[in-house]
Symmetry: C2
Subunit: 402 residues, 2 copies
């Protein structure tokens, strides 16, 4: 299970999978599960690149990241591509189609960002694990338009402790103890920080999770679910931008269920909450997790629709704001808000905090942090100012679409 | 107990008091104790300054911070200054002398920093609580030499849950349940970030803690202990600077016990450890906590000696490095190391993380964060470079004094 974390590309990413099983407050319980994870430099002179990641579950599984020079056509295990009787092993399985989708999204988003940037290019890191799975991290840093943009995909085969498998409980007669349960996880995750203080930051993440049916617990089913979201974090409010962004999210949601947008909009406001500031990180969007109480095909289509909505939701805003003239004061305010972004990600974001604690690929996890951030003592925006309006909207989430 | 946190001025500050009672891993247990803490804006338009802090312990105690226009001559309760039979209530009590010491240290350190800076001046915030206690926060921001320097003192009267009082256990016969135990805490805490990338950051914190004897548990004694430390975080190593710094720490220690420096030097290396990077925040110094197995007067003198050693340990280094010419690359590396500082303080520092979770005075807690910080994807210093040497010393702590 923890290996889902290890290859987690970014904040609130695939790393949130394990939380399906437990409330956020029981994170420490998860950490103390019978899994040991090591991420140690092998020599005194070695650097981050030499960090090897091993996962040792109660099953004895050990996985180690291997850098790859080329992208494989799939990170799925061969058995998943074959034609065994197992549904998940077919080439048109949900896991296969989800991987195809997130890799296409990674390609199209990176292409769109490079296109808007004009100068910056994405640097790519590819890795795999011997037992299957792997990931592609892409980062564009210090471009003409973007300060830092990370777009990562990962596919993980892991093993979760049986205690974490909810579905096993109802048929547990107290005599049989199911063994560790294999799981599959895949996700795309991205944080994009532009340079211009009037151009907003965006974050999106879409993920799919599947477990095998526990072998020793007859009747306990295979489990699956979807999670994800897209949210906007401006330093200044342009109401037309925020409305456009939320409208695109709503449009994607409404194609599937009229209840989705209001429900996932509120979920987003609740999730990206900086408790010690009593304010949200930004102006929200949509967020959902543990979604499996709808048709699986419908949710695959829904996730695909959401992921494909990132470009139409975000790129027009960037096109409009990337060259807006700004002052040092505007930049300083953006940097202060970046500080809040850092606070949320390091203190609250489940994927980040869990990933850090369990020894995930640090550079992939922390690619969500901005290139630069700022903390001024007791900064108070002047009431009624543009900075104050943004802060007010972070404190009191608004309905952007009437 | 939590009110110790609430007025905690900074990282690894007085906030670490409660941890006397529990291992770091049981922080969440502390959070779930029967205390409720509220830090809410009172109106939609209010800002941080209006954040009121209330502590509601099982005893029903409610404390609220009140801004003060003048510094009181003491934050001790009147009873502590009187001449009742209670030892702690005498004017020459340890708590009274400790408060006097930390306020003198605050004055002298601030004067020395303003003197070196030449331009920047400290801004002061004073607050008190109706039931006694209070604090003085001083921040110098964007000076000529210092990017951000915070020097805070605080005095706290709180109540800790009986479950947290170790000394009560041996005489607990299982029939009597002791009530909440009043405690007293006082500390000085400071983080100083200079502008010049060759001038190091310093952090120091000295604190004293006392409990009353539990009334309902005959034989359970009054408890007290000392904690603190001073540590250096450069972006570049000047061996003579680091040796000077450690020599002053060793000199202070050796006046009291030859075992102190080696023991507290290692404790410091162990405490300021960024686990997910497998590196220390900086080049260490001394750190100790829970110290009560020596004569109380001796430890008061030792804490005083350590606190008074900050100026001779640090100011000569700043004088030497504040005007060293530097390039954009030097500055960028300093900013990257500032990013590590942020990571340590937000992810690991007990005082900061606990303070954030329990609703402390945010601006005082986060004054430890630098004015600006930076995160580059997968930055790797060139082997053998000055940046690499610093990183290597953070990964492999050295003995600076042979």
């Amino acid at each position: 299970m923890l290996s889902a974390i290890l290859s987690s590309p970014s904040s609130s990413s695939t790393s949130t999978f394990p939380l399906r099983y437990s409330s956020p407050s029981s994170l420490t319980n998860l950490s103390s599960l019978p899994l040991t994870i090591g991420c140690r430099r092998t020599s005194k002179k070695s650097t981050h690149n030499n960090c090897s990641i091993r996962v040792q579950a109660s099953s004895g599984m050990i996985e180690k990241e291997t850098p790859e020079t080329e992208r494989p056509h799939t990170f799925l295990r061969e058995s998943d591509e074959g034609s065994s009787g197992d549904e998940s092993s077919k080439p048109n399985s949900v896991r296969a189609r989800f991987e195809k989708m997130i890799r296409e999204v990674q390609d199209s988003v990176c292409a769109a960002l490079e296109d808007v940037d004009g100068g910056g290019k994405f640097k790519e890191d590819v890795w795999s694990r011997p037992g299957g799975g792997g990931g592609i991290s892409r980062v564009l840093q210090d471009g003409d338009v973007f300060e830092k943009a990370g777009v990562n995909v990962s596919v993980v085969y892991g093993v979760m402790p049986p205690e974490a498998y909810r579905a096993a409980r109802p048929v547990d007669n107290g005599n049989t103890k199911p063994g560790p349960i294999p799981f599959f996880a895949a996700g795309v995750s991205s944080v994009i920080h532009p340079k211009n203080p009037f151009a907003p930051t965006v974050h999106f993440n879409y993920r799919y999770f599947e477990t095998d049916a526990p072998k020793d617990t007859p009747g306990a089913p295979r489990q699956w679910w979807f999670g994800g979201g897209t949210d906007l974090t401006p330093a200044y409010i342009f109401e037309e931008d925020v409305k456009h962004f939320h409208s695109v999210q709503k449009g994607a949601c409404d194609k599937f269920d009229a209840s989705f947008y209001p429900r996932f909009k509120k979920w987003c406001d609740d999730y990206f909450y900086i408790k010690h500031r009593d304010e949200r990180r930004g102006l929200g969007g949509i967020f959902f997790d543990d979604l499996n109480d709808y048709d699986q095909e419908m949710l695959l289509s829904f996730s695909t629709e959401c992921a494909n909505s990132v470009i139409p939701a975000y790129i027009p805003i960037i096109e409009k704001r990337k060259d807006t003239p700004f002052t040092d004061e505007h930049k300083a305010w953006q940097q202060l808000r970046r500080g809040r972004y850092v606070e949320f990600n390091l203190v609250y974001d489940r994927g980040t905090t869990f990933g850090l604690k369990t020894g995930g690929r640090i550079e992939s996890i922390l690619v969500s942090l901005p290139l630069s951030a700022r903390w001024e003592y007791d900064h108070q925006p002047v009431e009624g100012s543009e900075e104050w309006k943004l802060l007010d909207a972070c404190i009191n989430p608004k309905e952007w679409i009437c």
